[in-house]
């Protein structure tokens, strides 16, 4: 499969979850394991252009697919995407555990809908739980990127 533009070929047991393949086999530990039941969204990655929960998918199901993880957002030189920059400016994270999932859900939203309303942002982030920020700063950060017309 292709992950963040790099091709990987591995033999894995069919029982391996995609999130464990990313974290344990490829050392892409930006994708977090939160609830491990498909509720919290900390493990969200992009499969093609869609946000999905990598704890609810087997690695073998992603054979041949194109995956983007949070490590694939910023440039190799460390330049943040406008969304990441906006999270920084709006203090959209505190402990940071949910942040990779939030970023991946919001990135998928902005690709389809570059200027989302507050309601559309809330709907897009419904599958992502944050226990620190009370969500407001996160929602404001995503809406602000749309208003600036950049991702």
């Amino acid at each position: 499969m292709e992950i963040n533009g790099t091709s990987y070929e591995r033999d894995v047991p069919a029982s391996l979850l995609l999130v464990h393949f990313l974290r344990d086999d490829l050392d892409l530990t930006g994708t977090h394991v939160g609830c491990d039941t498909g509720s919290c969204g900390a493990c969200t990655v992009q499969l093609g252009d869609e946000a999905i929960k990598s704890c609810c998918m087997l690695a073998v199901q992603a054979d041949g697919a194109s995956i983007t993880t949070v490590e694939g957002l910023a440039s190799d030189e460390g330049e943040l995407t406008p969304l990441q920059q906006s999270f920084h400016e709006y203090h959209a994270l505190q402990c940071g555990y949910c942040t990779p999932g939030m970023l991946m859900s919001a990135t998928a939203l902005l690709e389809k809908n570059p200027r989302p309303s507050e309601h559309e942002v809330k709907v897009a982030l419904q599958g992502n739980i944050c226990r620190c920020t009370g969500y407001w700063n996160i929602i404001e950060a995503v809406v602000a990127v749309g208003e600036k017309g950049t991702r």
């Binding site: 047991p13 069919a14 029982s15 391996l16 979850l17 491990d36 039941t37 498909g38 969204g41 969200t44 499969l47 869609e50 946000a51 999905i52 929960k53 704890c55 609810c56 998918m57 087997l58 073998v60 199901q61 054979d63 859900s105 998928a108 939203l109 709907v123 897009a124 419904q126 599958g127 992502n128």
Partner: protein, 284 residues
């Protein structure tokens, strides 16, 4: 979470999938995996072979039947596809409206209509919806194809008419005729959470159909209420009167969210709300 060891196959054709499912005891079809992967983590299911249906593109289409009387939804169509389908928007928009309230974006992107109905969790959205709309289910096996009505399809908690070696391929939903209104109402845990009680109503020139979710192992038709409304008076007073006694006629389960009596009450309230909204929509 570590899953129990499992074999995996990703067939390229429906025939190949059916062969795999019929050849292996303990083989299980894997659709979107949004339920199955999680029940495998909990060891509530431990299939020996997963037959991944992901490459069966013929099961990922939404189209019209030859005579245009039904919308044919492939079993591998995701909720996100239902929400954005122009065919659904034209022919039976309630399907998209309900799909948009299932779980969250990520799960809607992976979760399929076929997977949802084959799980037949009594709290799921599609079972009462498809029962109220009078959907037909197409099931294939090595010996051919058969169809089942919603009444025949939903058999029990987590059990459907799809038996070992069989595969649900298609769900046919009658297209909406002019003057038809559909609505789903219910009580959820949180805005888009699991239903505690649900009801779907469809109002047309042929009468009223009401199906309840969460009150039994399968969707339950509110037949007495339907008969009382056959005269066509769908005023609020008439609908409330028609629903009287509905709760008492049910034998719903008790759980941490609602005891049996309260769940029955919620079902009756949901039925009234669904019929009133469907009646309003039937006016156009």
């Amino acid at each position: 979470m570590l899953l129990r060891e499992v074999e995996y196959a990703r067939p390229a054709t429906v025939e190949e999938a059916i062969t795999l499912l019929s050849e292996h005891d303990g083989a299980r079809a894997l659709a979107g995996g949004q339920t199955l992967v999680n029940v495998m983590k909990a060891r509530a299911a431990s299939p020996d072979v997963l037959v991944d249906l992901a490459d069966l593109t013929e099961l990922r289409t939404i189209s019209f039947s030859a005579d245009q009387s039904a919308l044919e939804i492939g079993a591998m169509v995701t909720n996100t596809m239902v929400i954005s389908s122009s065919e659904v928007e034209v022919a039976r928009p309630i399907l998209a409206e309900v799909a948009a309230t299932i779980a969250d974006v990520q799960i809607r992107n992976r979760g399929t209509v076929g997977g949802n109905v084959c799980v037949n969790d009594p709290t799921n959205h599609y079972p009462p919806l498809l029962a109220a709309l009078g959907a037909t289910f197409t099931i294939r096996s090595t010996s051919g194809e058969r169809t089942a009505s919603a009444e025949e399809f939903f058999v029990g908690v987590y059990v459907t008419a799809v038996s070992e070696g069989e595969l649900l391929t298609k769900i046919s939903v009658p297209t909406r005729k002019p003057g038809t209104g559909d609505a789903m109402a219910g009580i959820t845990l949180g805005a888009h959470g699991t239903y505690v009680a649900s009801a779907v109503a469809t109002v047309s020139s042929e009468g009223v159909r009401v199906a309840l979710g969460c009150v039994s192992s399968v969707p339950v038709r509110a037949m007495v209420m339907e008969e009382r409304l056959a005269g066509g008076d769908l005023s609020e007073a008439a609908v409330r009167a028609a629903a009287e006694g509905l709760a008492a006629s049910l034998d719903p389960p008790s759980d941490v969210h609602a005891n049996a009596e309260y769940r029955g009450h919620l079902a009756e309230v949901s039925a009234v709300r669904a019929v009133l909204q469907a009646a309003e929509r039937a006016k156009g």
